[in-house]
Structures are given as structure tokens and as C-alpha cells.
Chain length 208, copies 4
DNA sequence: AATGAATGAGATTTCATTCAT
DNA sequence: TATGAATGAAATCTCATTCAT
């Protein structure tokens, strides 16, 4: 996906041989391949071939194919959690913080589209044991976002009668769906999409 | 998921032995298992075991495991396409037809949640050759929905400056996301969710 | 080992192609190879090659390589348990039943030397979970044998001051050791070895 | 096994960090692990981890994993050969030297139970090339022991009609079997077991 | 004397699919 | 209409060993 975009910054092509240290290169390649063909359809062989190392090297750094998936997932979730915290815990009216957070998660998602696609599509391929950690992280993220909506409702800035939970689910559905249709070489810029999504969300919650 | 709900109409338990003819039973079982564990994690053996037949029987009705997936997908898409046509081609203001269509697709999705979950999660597991048909169907559906939005915009019922494409993508993201959080034994009824989603959509597009 | 003996009954060469049904053939081949090179040194590939089938066939009948080992072990233990019961539960002086049982287990072991070698050498390669069943069977066997010694001691036929447990351990050590030195084409016949072993055992326990 | 016994002399815990020089520590750890889980089930990684060094260090001292096994084997066999020579070449009636040698090998075996267990269980894991040396050592040991029996028979101290070879095989079977049942924290002391084993052996060979 | 990243060969196992019956 | 034994290809993972430092 994104890796096919023209004009990418140099040194970020996961197909290349040696710009990144082996460990990071493996992760980049894995993310790109998982996004492209799916986790189950990507063999360890595929990954190491494109990364230009051997299987042994991969298992030196990651103890299982699952590890790569979890790492990808965690990396993105951590990033987004940090950004959300930074915005939500800032100052100003809750509604405006919500708008900023909504636009930001869209942009961040589009900036890490491979990771995002992998996260939403392939997380359920992890064994139950590993899903637990991942799910609780995702839940915390959702909770923080919902709390922001509720804060706005309690402050009288947003319509109180609509279920914050439902709104947040609906909104994040749209975010998760981005990978299905967004093309980096299309007309729409991430910021524009972020603004529109945030606008739709806020209008849905607006009073009057 | 839904198929495990208590109080279900008799004859719909895919685990049972003989209420449905073998062919339909296989499809029901497959949908249930694919939704539960994912396509790749479900073996043909799993399917025929739960359906109470042997592999030979399955290959008598379906020429490949992929067939089951495509069938599930097509079945749901056809149903939703028919319903959308019925609503969108009806009379009345475009905005009201849009509201009805939006609410309806939510309810229909929740009523066939296994199929829906499978469709969004596992479609990309089909080989490219089979994905073409599926994708074009999905695109036609999206187009029809978008046309309805644009009709409302041209009629002056909806805000014209927002990208109909973007709105529709955002909305269907929410619909596809339903499978990740909706629980049939939770508090929210499908109709209520449909109404809320439709309401959020319409407010996002409302004038003024 | 035994499978190299000249004059073996026809149709028992596990290397041959089709005298036995596939399942039994796999077990025979496995026993022969495990005895020859050890469990860990024998690959599934080795087994199926010599049995003239494919790996898939093996996994159709045995769910794991471990299964073969356990089957070999159980098969021999069951046989020996039955024979011991038949002799020990018979009539006559305990000392004479002990002599018969001792001679018999030697002969039986030599008659199934591959299985016996595998059992003593490779049992500890089973995962703990599988070893439990196997161990309890082996313990029951040991107990029955020891009870026979104690019966003779209580009847005044055998020296009472020597630990029955120790004697039985010592004796079965000798039996388990047979695989290390016995050659079917050597001078000693199984019956002769059995008689001698039983004689040594009885003299060790004799009164006076 | 023994290495876990409480009250052990200080500096013999193979798990500890630095009481022994690295080379000796590696051997002690290897013996303990091989005895516990078997040679094939113990990875070089396991060994160096427990010894607190890295793989490079191990390969500095031992050129292969096999080396460790052979070293363990040789160490024990050399020890027992020396002791046997000391006893068998001493003075007094052959029968009494035999009794002493028999009791001694039992005690020595129990005092080095890890090594003993490894030796009997895992020797056949060595490649053929390395087994030759080991086997010839073992054979020499067996010969010396058998010669002692024959000496007693020729001197008229022991029954001449029983095969010395067979008796020795039977006896050493019992010795090798010790590792399967002996527990250092059980009731029986090594010396007592040695006495009993020697007694059984001598009674089996006694005249009259 | 020791490190630890990397190799490369091989191991077990899974599974969709076929085919004779 | 259905069986189930058998295939064969591919997948994940393990591990003893090497080598530049």
C-alpha cells in the first residue's frame, strides 16, 4: 500500500538491502507484506527473502511469526495512545479536544497505513493468549476517547442523549476502514480526510 | 455469535445434525466457524466434523474451501443489494430514503452477523481471481449508496460541500466494525443501533 | 536387531512393501528404526520411506511421531502383562511360578527385541504428559512381579530377609539390558538365557 | 538427580555461577541436564544458559555437543576401570575380589548417577565414529569383570557350569538400571544396595 | 578467553484436495 | 450421494555451528 507510493522518503523502502538494521528491517518488511497479502498468506520465507536475510536471523530476533504481528500492533497502538493522551489531556473545551483527537488519529493511521491495515485485519490471527494484552490496550484507548465525548456531553458542549459508546464505535469503524479504500496517490490528503471525519463526528454530536 | 443466541428459531443451529439439507448445513457451519476463528484457522476437517458429514460430501457440493467463502459473501451482498435497491428506488425525499437505507443495512448486518464478519474479515483471503467478482459487487453497492447521498445534495436536502464518497466510506466503516463489538445479548437492539447510526449520518449531512 | 536375523518367518520384513496393511507396516518399520538408531535420530521421513508410503499417510494413522513410540511401548507392555498374569495367577508353589515368569519375560523380550529396545531406551523421550500412562503400566507390572516374590517369602519358600523390591529391580535391569548385547545369530538361544536368568534369580533367593 | 540432593559438598551445584572453572562447570551442567531430559532434548543453549556463559565460550572448550557426551562417558568409565583394576588385581580369593568389585561398582555408579544415567541412556546418540572408542572401553571393562568370574570358577570357588558372560551381563543390567529407580532421598543407602547386589551375584554363583 | 549475530539444513506437522469404491 | 485413505506441497520452527570482533 503506502510502500508503493511515489515520492516516499529515501531509505524507507523495506525491500532494499541494508538501510535499516536487520531487526527493524524485518519488521518493516513484515508490515508491508502482511498488509498486502494478509498474515496467513505471508510465509516466513517471503519475509526473510524480501529482507535479504535467512530464517535463522529472523528467529534470532523474533521468537515466532506471531511476534512480528504483535510488535506491529503494539507499535501503532502505543503511538496512537501517546498522541491521544497528549491531545485529550490538554486544555480548552472538550469538544475542540475531541475534534483534534479525531482528526489526528485519522492522519496518524494514514501515515502508518501498513501497520494499521495489519492491526485491524490480522489481529484475530493471534492465539488467544496473545490477544489478551492487545485487546486490553485497544480497550483503554477506546475508553479514553469515549471519556472525552462524555466530558463534552457533561459540559453541555455536546448532545447528551446519544450513546458515547456507540458514537465512538461508529467513528473508529470509519478509521479502521480507511485501509480498504484510501490510496496515497489519490486526490484526498490525509489532513483533509481527518478534517472531514472530525467534522462529521462533531456535527453528529452537535447541539441543536 | 448470533447463531449461539438463545431463543433462536428452530432449525438454525449449524451444529445440529439434520435440520438443514447437507449443502445448506455446510454453509451455515462454515459461516459460523469462519466468523469465530477466521478462514485460515478453520480447516475443512473442522467444518465437516461440525456438520456431521465427511470431506467427500463437502467436495461434492463445493469445489473448494474458497467456494464456501465466496458463497457466504455473495449471499449477504445480494441480500443487501436487493434491500438497498428496494429502499433507494422508492419514493419520497432522498434524505429520508438515505436514512431508511442506512438504518436497514445496520439491522441486516446484525441479523447476519456471522456472514458479515466473515465478509469483512476474510474476503481478502480469496485468490485475486475470485476477488474481482466480489469487489465489483461491493463497488456497485457503494455506488448506489453514494448516489443516494448525491441525490440529496443536488436536491438541496443535504450539505453539498462534503464529499459523498468520504461520507459513505465513513459510514460503512462503522457498519463493518459492528462485528467487533456488538453482542446479541447486550443491551442495544439492532433497530436502536440502526436508528442512531442513521441519525449520526444524517446530522453529519444536515444543512445549517 | 532381530529384523536382521536369518531364517525369520516370511512376511515379517518391515522393509518390504505390502505384506502388512499400511498402519501395521508403519509401526513395524518404526520399531525397527527406533531400535536401530534411536527415536530422536529417526526422522518421520526415514520411516515413511522405508514403509513405502508418504508422510500424509502416516499422519492419517498416527497423530504424531510420539504416537508411534507410545504404541510400541504399550503393545509390548500389554503382552507382557497378560503373560505375567497368566503365570503368576496360576497354581503351584510361588517359587515355581516366579521361575516360570522370570524365564518367560526373558523369552518374550527377546522375541520382541526391537520393541523392547525402543521401550527401555526411548521412553523418556515422550513428553511428560504421555509418560504418565506408560509409567503407571510399568509400575503395575513391577508390583505384580514383586508380589510374587513376597508370596514366596511368606510361604517360606524364599529367603525373607532380602528386599523383594531390590531383587526385582536387579532382575529387570538384566532383562532391559538384553538389547545391548544379545545377537539373534549368536550361540545362546532365548530359552537358554531365560532358564539361566531365572536360575540366577532363584538361587539368589534360595533358602540355606 | 544426585546433584540436587541437600547436604551436597559445596562447590558442586552445576547451576551456580562461579565455583568451578568454566570448562568443568559446563561439563557438570551438561551431565545434569542430559540426565534430566536426555541428550537430544537438551540444547546447547540450555547448557550455556545454566552455566552462565555464552555459546562462544562453550565452543572454545568443546568442539561439539558430542564432545560433552563423550567426556562424561569417558570420565565415568575411566574412574570405574581404575577402581576395578585396583580391586581385581589385589590379593585374596577371586570370589571375594568379585564381591568387592560388584559392591564397589554399584556405589560408584550411585555416587555419579548423572554421569551414569547419561552413559547408559545417551551413548547411542554419538555418531558411529565416536561410539567405537567408547564401546571398546566398555568391552574391556566387561572382560575384566568376566575374567574375575572365570578365575573364581577355575579356582573351584564358583559354579563352573554357568556362563560367566551371561552372569556378568545380567549383573550389569542391574547396575545400569539403577538410574531408573534409585532416589538419593529414599531409604536405601548406596552401600546397602551394593552389598545386596553383590550378595545376589555371589549366591547365584555359589557352589552347592 | 569470549561474544552474539547469523547461517543453513532439516525436523515435524498441517491441510486442501483427489480418487477408487 | 458419499466415503475415507492417501497424497504432496508447503509451513513454522529448532538448533548445532561459524565467524568477525
Amino acid at each position: 500500500m503506502r510502500s508503493d507510493a511515489p515520492g516516499r522518503a529515501p531509505g524507507r523502502d523495506p525491500r532494499a538491502g541494508a538501510e535499516l538494521p536487520v531487526q527493524a528491517r524485518l519488521l518493516a518488511v513484515a508490515s508491508s507484506l502482511f498488509a498486502e497479502r494478509g498474515f496467513a498468506q505471508t510465509s516466513v520465507q517471503d519475509i526473510v527473502e524480501r529482507a535479504g536475510v535467512t530464517k535463522g536471523a529472523m528467529y534470532h530476533y523474533y521468537s515466532a511469526k506471531d511476534d512480528l504481528l504483535q510488535e506491529i500492533y503494539t507499535r501503532l497502538l502505543d503511538l496512537q495512545s501517546r498522541r491521544l493522551a497528549g491531545i485529550a489531556d490538554g486544555g480548552g473545551p472538550a469538544a475542540e479536544r475531541l475534534r483534534a483527537a479525531a482528526a489526528d488519529v485519522v492522519v496518524t493511521t494514514l501515515d502508518h497505513l501498513d501497520d494499521a491495515v495489519v492491526s485491524m485485519r490480522s489481529m484475530h490471527m493471534l492465539p488467544e493468549s496473545r490477544q489478551a494484552a492487545v485487546r486490553s490496550g485497544r480497550r483503554r484507548y477506546h475508553e479514553r476517547f469515549r471519556a472525552l465525548v462524555e466530558e463534552g456531553q457533561q459540559a453541555g458542549e455536546l448532545r447528551p442523549e446519544v450513546s458515547a459508546d456507540l458514537v465512538v464505535h461508529q467513528f473508529f469503524g470509519g478509521v479502521h476502514h480507511l485501509g480498504t479504500w484510501y490510496r496515497p496517490d489519490g486526490e484526498l490528503r490525509p489532513e483533509e480526510i481527518g478534517r472531514t471525519f472530525a467534522d462529521l463526528l462533531l456535527r453528529g454530536l452537535a447541539i441543536g
